[in-house]
């Protein structure tokens, strides 16, 4: 019970940081920000308990995406990307499963799984998230160059803040 309350509070804080601070940072007019943004909020999906059912993760992804969309004025785009991320997370977790399976004590953090596992897990999911996001935003493959450029820049900056979060706060659960 206290576990889920902690997850919800942390999620709300991360969303507030995303829409009030990171959104402003990524609205500058120099070259870097025109082609990229910083997304911290997918870390909420990354940090959900490993054994949580795939259904719940997908639904939570959709709802958080909608909430972010309300603040970004991009109706549906973030929801589109985060639903995909939530669903792919289940598949990826079964690929990354250690020998002997996950135990109840394991959570997707540096403390529990080690930095290598965390890097692979976060970077693959973020690649999916950022790519699907720009496909949804630009909405046509005619601009595939632009999609790839934006995906690369945003991916690098997003990974920096997500790994930074893990190194700074070292969440146990």
């Amino acid at each position: 019970m206290t576990q889920s309350v902690r997850h919800i509070l942390r999620g709300l804080l991360i969303i507030i940081v995303q829409v009030l601070i990171l959104k402003r940072i990524s609205s500058g007019s120099n070259w870097l920000w025109l082609h990229g943004a910083v997304f911290l909020y997918p870390i909420i999906i990354l940090l959900l308990p490993i054994r949580m059912s795939r259904h719940y993760v997908t639904i939570i992804g959709f709802l958080i995406g909608l909430l972010i969309d309300m603040f970004y004025d991009t109706m549906g785009v973030h929801a589109f990307a985060l639903t995909a991320t939530g669903y792919v997370r289940g598949i990826l977790l079964s690929y990354l499963e250690p020998r002997g399976g996950y135990t109840t004590a394991m959570s997707p953090t540096r403390h529990s799984m080690g930095i290598n596992w965390l890097m692979i897990y976060s970077s693959l999911l973020m690649l999916v998230h950022v790519f699907v996001y720009y496909v949804g935003e630009i909405f046509t493959f005619v601009y595939i160059g632009q999609i790839l450029l934006k995906t690369t820049i945003t991916f690098l900056m997003t990974m920096m803040v997500i790994m930074g979060y893990h190194l700074l706060f070292n969440p146990r659960k």
Binding site: R54, H55, G65, F71, D73, V77, T83, A84, I138, Q146
Partner: protein, 270 residues
């Protein structure tokens, strides 16, 4: 039937994923048609309040800049007032007084930008005034150094506007030196420049020519300074120039803006 049920249960996570993605896609497409539900965008009270609160926290950072730009603007206004008074003196000697709504068809409402974006394909910003301050959809928004956008959705206390950096924005603009006019549109990814199209090739152009609003639509008054010509060329086989205009206003730093209410239009309609 049993098999179908088993199938649904077996793949329920995937089906759920597909259904949610469909909903998101429908939302995206609806959004692109500009038919957003009003309570799910930033003109809704919920996110508007939060942005207003955050804006208050940030505004102390740039008080100095704001003071400077306000002083600048005041200076310009004073110049205009002196010029106008002189003109009016001349008119009143020559002619009988005219109805004031013909002379002053524009009413200006000041507002502040509390949320802005420039790096999407279709950019919007949010103002802290709404129906309560008699703002209506379709009014133009001007900024101290140029034009900013057009009001789109109006809530009771907040409203959203499409930025001039929006793929649907077309602004009628003219070259001040020789009055040739065309429409100003935005090509994505560069928030400092816009493209002026449909100026015929017999027009003589110079780099640095001033671009102002033409006043041919009621959205903006005539003669608002937009920017200067930075480049111009003719696409192969075309009869029209393509002109790159460097904007005077940095849309990324919009703060104090003015909404233009054209009162003359309503009277002519009645």
């Amino acid at each position: 039937m049993n098999n179908l049920l088993l199938f649904i249960i077996r793949y329920s996570a995937f089906l759920l994923f597909v259904v949610l993605e469909m909903i998101a896609l429908v939302l995206i497409v609806r959004y692109n048609d500009n038919q957003r539900t009003i309570y799910l965008n930033s003109s809704s009270i919920f996110s508007g309040r939060l942005y207003n609160f955050a804006d208050k926290a940030y505004e102390y950072n740039n008080l100095r800049d704001i003071a400077d730009s306000l002083a600048n603007e005041n200076a310009k206004l004073k110049t205009n007032i002196f010029n106008l008074e002189r003109t009016i003196q001349h008119i009143s000697i020559a002619e009988s007084p005219v109805d004031s709504c013909i002379l002053e068809p524009y009413r200006i409402i000041e507002a502040r930008v509390i949320n802005n974006s420039i790096n999407q394909r279709n950019n919007h910003f949010t103002l802290d005034k709404g129906i309560a301050d008699s703002i209506r959809a379709g009014m133009g928004v001007i900024s101290p150094h140029g034009i900013a956008g057009i009001i789109d959705q109006v809530g009771t206390e907040y409203s959203t506007a499409i930025s001039i950096l929006h793929s649907a924005a077309r602004i009628s603009a003219a070259i001040r030196r020789n009055n040739y006019f065309g429409s100003l549109i935005w090509k994505e990814t560069d928030p400092r420049h816009m493209i002026l199209e449909a100026v015929p090739r017999q027009a003589d152009l110079l780099i640095g020519d001033t671009i102002v609003t033409s006043g041919y639509s009621y959205i903006y008054p005539r003669g608002i300074f937009i920017g200067t010509i930075s480049k111009f060329w003719i696409e192969g086989g075309s009869n029209y120039y393509t002109i790159e205009v460097k904007l005077q206003e940095d849309i990324a730093r919009l703060d104090q803006v003015y909404v233009v209410d054209y009162t003359g239009e309503r009277e002519t309609q009645q």
